[in-house]
Symmetry: C2
Subunit: 191 residues, 2 copies
């Protein structure tokens, strides 16, 4: 393993997401830069398929070693909805719409899933890393940290509070994204 710092370019337009990623990767000696380019996003019920297509496109456009993350909230009672379309659903229905869909439902289990895809001009194909956190959908919004569905997601093992009630450091101990990023960082430092 090299002790010299390595750099990876994280393709996103979401500063919250980038900020979480930078913290986790810094702890593992990987420096991160935010790369604001428009990478293609395909429709696929499988997050890995979406992330791989995006990261290939991002490498083609930038010529850099890049990371792409695709993540989603999968709610059991809604057959996995909003899943791969979590971002669009957040922009239209918001957390309130999701809470409305869950009205009268006792089955509140859900999970966040994250796929980190890494690719570079030297590689033949992208490499993927996965993270998952189980939890439940709360009855109301709680907290104002984080972003997206954080105020309505209470992770298992999180002392009964939502992601939006945690600091970034607390969230990163549990989150799907941090898990996937740590796996990436360990691998990247070893290459």
């Amino acid at each position: 393993m090299s002790l010299k710092g390595k750099v990876a370019f994280f393709v996103t337009t979401n500063f919250h997401k980038f900020s979480e990623a930078r913290h986790v990767l810094a702890e593992h000696g990987v420096a991160t830069a935010m790369l604001r380019i428009e990478a293609i996003e395909i429709q696929d019920d499988n997050l890995e398929g979406i992330a791989k297509a995006s990261v290939r496109d991002a490498v083609e456009k930038s010529g850099l070693p890049v990371l792409v993350e695709d993540a989603g909230l999968f709610i059991d009672a809604l057959k996995g909805f909003p899943g791969p379309y979590s971002s669009y659903v957040y922009r239209t229905l918001g957390t309130r719409g999701v809470l409305k869909l869950m009205e009268g439902t006792d089955k509140r289990n859900a999970y966040f899933y994250s796929v980190i895809a890494f690719h570079s001009p030297e590689r033949v194909s992208p490499k993927c890393f996965h993270g998952k956190v189980e939890g439940r959908i709360t009855l109301n919004e709680q907290g104002n940290q984080g972003f997206g569905y954080d105020p309505i997601f209470e992770p298992r093992g999180g002392a009964g509070i939502t992601f939006a009630e945690m600091t970034t450091a607390m969230k990163n101990r549990l989150s799907h994204r941090a898990q996937a990023l740590r796996k990436f960082a360990v691998w990247y430092r070893s290459t």
Copy 2:
């Protein structure tokens, strides 16, 4: 305009959609074959962008003159949801989920929008045709004809019944898809 029949390959895995298209195109002297290939579908809030990317991919894979349709139901009170993701939302939430989201809402206007993209190996870029039908979301499901959101969509000018209460011939007089297909057929016969 040529009087000889022309053929177009309609890329879809949805037999209902193909059947509607075949009726409309036949009336305009265009014969249609159903082409079951997997064309890429991108995530985009704009249906035309999705249809163009798909039809380019379909021509690359098949080497044939092909049609792709992308359509969506856009509900005003839900900021356009389910829009470009209507098919995924139908498979997960279904019409009942959409009705639940609309509970307590008086603002029930919505529209169906269709984009038909045509492309062939000889063309430089795809050509698009559009159709739109305004209407409202009903309070309950009505009828069992058609497919998708037809049981909860009452088109304007349709005598107060839903698409699912109409025969294919009646639906084709009003529908977004039929409008776009007719525009395509007129153009295609003239080329």
